[in-house]
């Protein structure tokens, strides 16, 4: 009876829908390892306490970190509670509550690295620093002119650090404690620095809600609830006591003013990476497709089966999964490739499967008699292939190959999943920084078109030039 009343009360009370990214989100919000159906983390506990204090029912809405502000403004949830930092650029888009926790940043390096003991060392030695995209650390690094590599979650960043794909990782102490402190191959470089604050993010129009949230944060700080939660997660320090006094806010706010010229140059660089990925992958695909096609149609039973298995595997599984597998799976057996090379190899291996099928049908379209004529003129198989069969098959294969290349061009966007800074990644990051999904989106589309249209145009011209010589295949009759 009591239980029923409680749950009734819970359902009748208003809901505080809060958003956070639980993937790689420990110790903020993450799936409870003991009970994966539910979530845990200090932000999870803090959100529950906050809602209770406001006499509301907390409802967690899992979301994506990178686009969390856009999701808030799309009203997918009411507040952001996700180790969320106030920044000057975000201040234009939204309201911030009072801080409920003061955090610091920690730099981490590999155990054997004695070169880097501070962020300055990274700059002077030209070392790359990994961090989460769209956070205080990334803003600090970008405005400081460091070589930055952005990650979607801390797991990937620290894994790349271990594998040597990045030289240092800068992260909030909370994440560093959870993901790096216990890793014996990594060590902290220098002391924690830069005090920042975690706040609750609220839509600009919800000033009433903001006032209620602020009141609740004050109460939680003063009645010791906040301390209890963060002590439990071993994140409490006396610095936090400053939040109880209602004086000036003792934290620094990072800023990222979007510079359009710089943004366009960044996009241009990303477009360059996209071109590199597309051409690199196509070269692999075009070359590797030949032995695959030959193996499948002319190889013995074992070779043929192996080629078929390869082709069906790469055509039948998503290229995104293949890239993740290569990036995170291969290091397990000791093969560690940098992200851009992984993308080239992965896309190349994938498209080789498609090209092999283009070749196979093209070779089948060249009449068998062409081989016989070549043989009767004394040509050996390789000579006949090179001089007679290949040029004809090439003309047949060219249009579908052009199609594949344009498709590959667009598929390079999957490389965002493995932290390659290509055009689609650049779009997400810059659009998030500016909240200008439409404007930057249009620019990115223009970049893509500026690359794919000339490609299609030249391929079409080449086709037409070759077509004039090749229609003999279409006019030659069949023979019994």
């Amino acid at each position: 009876m009591l239980l029923a009343l409680q749950s009734l009360a819970a359902y009748s009370s208003p809901t505080l829908r809060w958003g956070a990214d639980p993937s790689g989100g420990a110790p903020y919000v993450y799936a409870d390892p003991a009970n994966p159906q539910t979530y845990t983390g200090f932000d999870y506990e803090f959100a529950e306490a906050l809602a209770r204090q406001m006499r509301m029912r907390a409802e967690f809405v899992p979301t994506d970190w990178e686009s969390i502000v856009a999701s808030l403004n799309r009203k997918e949830f009411d507040v952001i509670i996700n180790g969320f930092e106030p920044t000057e650029d975000r201040a234009r888009e939204m309201l911030f509550s009072k801080p409920y926790y003061l955090f610091r940043l920690q730099l981490t390096v590999r155990k054997d690295n004695n070169l880097i003991s501070s962020l300055e060392d990274c700059k002077t030695n030209g070392k790359s620093v990994g961090t989460l995209v769209n956070c205080a650390a990334s803003r600090l690094l970008e405005s400081g002119g460091y070589i930055v590599k952005g990650y979607q979650d801390p797991v990937g960043a620290y894994q790349d650090l271990e594998l040597g794909r990045v030289d240092a990782v800068l992260m909030d102490v909370a994440a560093e404690m959870f993901y790096a402190r216990r890793n014996s191959s990594l060590k902290p470089a220098g002391k924690p620095f830069h005090t920042g604050a975690y706040v609750v993010g609220i839509r600009k129009s919800d000033s009433l809600l903001a006032a209620k949230v602020n009141a609740a944060i004050d109460s939680l700080a003063d009645n010791g609830t906040t301390e209890r939660i963060f002590r439990k997660w071993q994140l409490w320090d006396d610095e936090q006591l400053k939040l109880r006094t209602k004086g000036t806010e003792p934290y620094a706010m990072t800023s990222q003013d979007f510079n359009w010229t710089e943004g366009l140059i960044k996009l241009l660089k990303a477009a360059g990476v996209t071109v590199l990925l597309a051409f690199g992958a196509m070269i692999i695909a075009v070359i590797l497709g030949i032995p695959l096609a030959l193996g499948q149609s002319k190889g013995g039973r074992i070779t043929g089966t192996l080629c078929t298995v390869y082709i069906e595997f790469f055509r039948g599984t998503p290229v995104l999964v293949q890239l993740l597998f290569l990036y995170f799976g291969l290091p397990v057996i000791g093969i560690t490739l940098p992200g851009w090379l992984t993308a080239i190899v992965g896309l190349g291996l994938n498209y080789a499967a498609y090209e092999s099928q283009v070749y196979r049908s093209a070779f089948q379209a060249v009449p068998e008699r062409q081989w016989q004529v070549a043989y009767s003129l004394g040509m050996r198989p390789f000579q006949a292939f090179r001089r007679i069969i290949f040029p004809q098959a090439f003309r047949i294969a060219l249009p579908p190959m052009t199609n594949d290349f344009v498709a590959l061009f667009k598929d390079t966007s999957t490389a965002f999943a493995i932290a390659v800074w290509e055009l689609a990644t650049a779009y997400r990051e810059l659009a998030n920084a500016t909240q200008s999904y439409l404007g930057i989106g249009l620019i990115v589309c223009l970049y893509y078109l500026a690359m794919s249209l000339p490609l299609a145009h030249y391929a079409h011209r080449l086709e037409r030039k070759l077509q004039r010589k090749s229609t003999g295949i279409l006019t030659s009759g069949t023979e019994q």
Binding site: S376, Q383, I388, S476
Partner: protein, 247 residues
């Protein structure tokens, strides 16, 4: 001398050639006649070294292959193929090469002839057949008759011992015209042999030196053209000739 002895070829349960033996001298034109589907083209493909056979052997000049050798990718089959040139019924010119390069491709890249020499020789042949002006065109731009001339020149340019023509009457016109006939007669005059497979007796009369009549998968009889036409020995030959006359 070209010698075919006890040649046999079976595909599945179908016998395409059974025990075919014949001999004819070089420097002559041999016509092979008979109804369609009686193994004429199969015989021609065996002669060209492009189709493996099951039994017997073929000798052209000093080169011969046996059934075993015909099915292996041995050095011998490659040499044997060089003895003959073939012109298919549907010609199968190389559609991606110009007329001139259709003819010079093999002499240059197989025989290692200097390009200039190969082209001069090819041009002379083209001029002889009155199609020199088409040298830079692609096969599809030519008429059927012109294409056939190019196909014949492509084979002749490799200077084979034997020239094999499969059903040339389907492109018909040119082979009966004086210049192609002269070309083939010049070719035989230098000791080369021409074998023409055709279902048309009328076309071979007065052109071929010898005629061979193929019945169902076997050689029925072979003789000098005039003798075979005027005095056929076998009932089946008589019947075929009679039907041909009526057409």
């Amino acid at each position: 001398m070209i010698t075919i002895s006890e040649l046999g070829k079976t595909v599945g349960t179908t016998q395409l050639l059974s025990n075919v033996s014949m001999e004819f001298p070089t420097g002559k034109i041999l016509g092979v006649i008979g109804p369609s589907g009686n193994g004429k083209t199969t015989l021609l493909l065996c002669l060209s070294g492009l189709l493996p056979f099951d039994r017997g052997s073929i000798t052209i000049g000093v080169t011969s292959i046996t059934a075993e050798e015909s099915s292996l990718r041995s050095e011998k089959i490659w040499q044997f193929r060089r003895q003959s040139g073939i012109v298919f019924q549907h010609l199968h010119l190389f559609p991606h090469l110009t007329v001139l390069r259709n003819i010079t491709e093999a002499p240059i890249h197989v025989n290692g002839k200097p390009k200039a020499v190969a082209e001069t020789e090819a041009l002379a042949l083209l001029e002889k057949l009155g199609i020199g002006q088409h040298r830079n065109k692609y096969p599809e731009e030519l008429s059927g008759g012109e294409q056939q001339r190019v196909a014949i020149l492509r084979a002749i340019a490799m200077n084979p011992e034997v020239l094999l023509l499969d059903e040339p009457t389907s492109a018909l016109d040119p082979i009966r015209s004086g210049d192609v006939r002269n070309l083939l007669q010049d070719f035989t005059a230098t000791g080369h042999t021409v074998v023409i497979v055709s279902h048309s007796v009328r076309f071979l009369r007065g052109f071929a030196d010898y005629l061979a009549f193929m019945g169902k998968s076997e050689l029925i009889e072979m003789n000098r053209t005039q003798q075979l036409l005027e005095n056929p020995q076998d009932e089946r030959t008589r019947e075929f000739l009679h039907l041909s006359e009526m057409n």
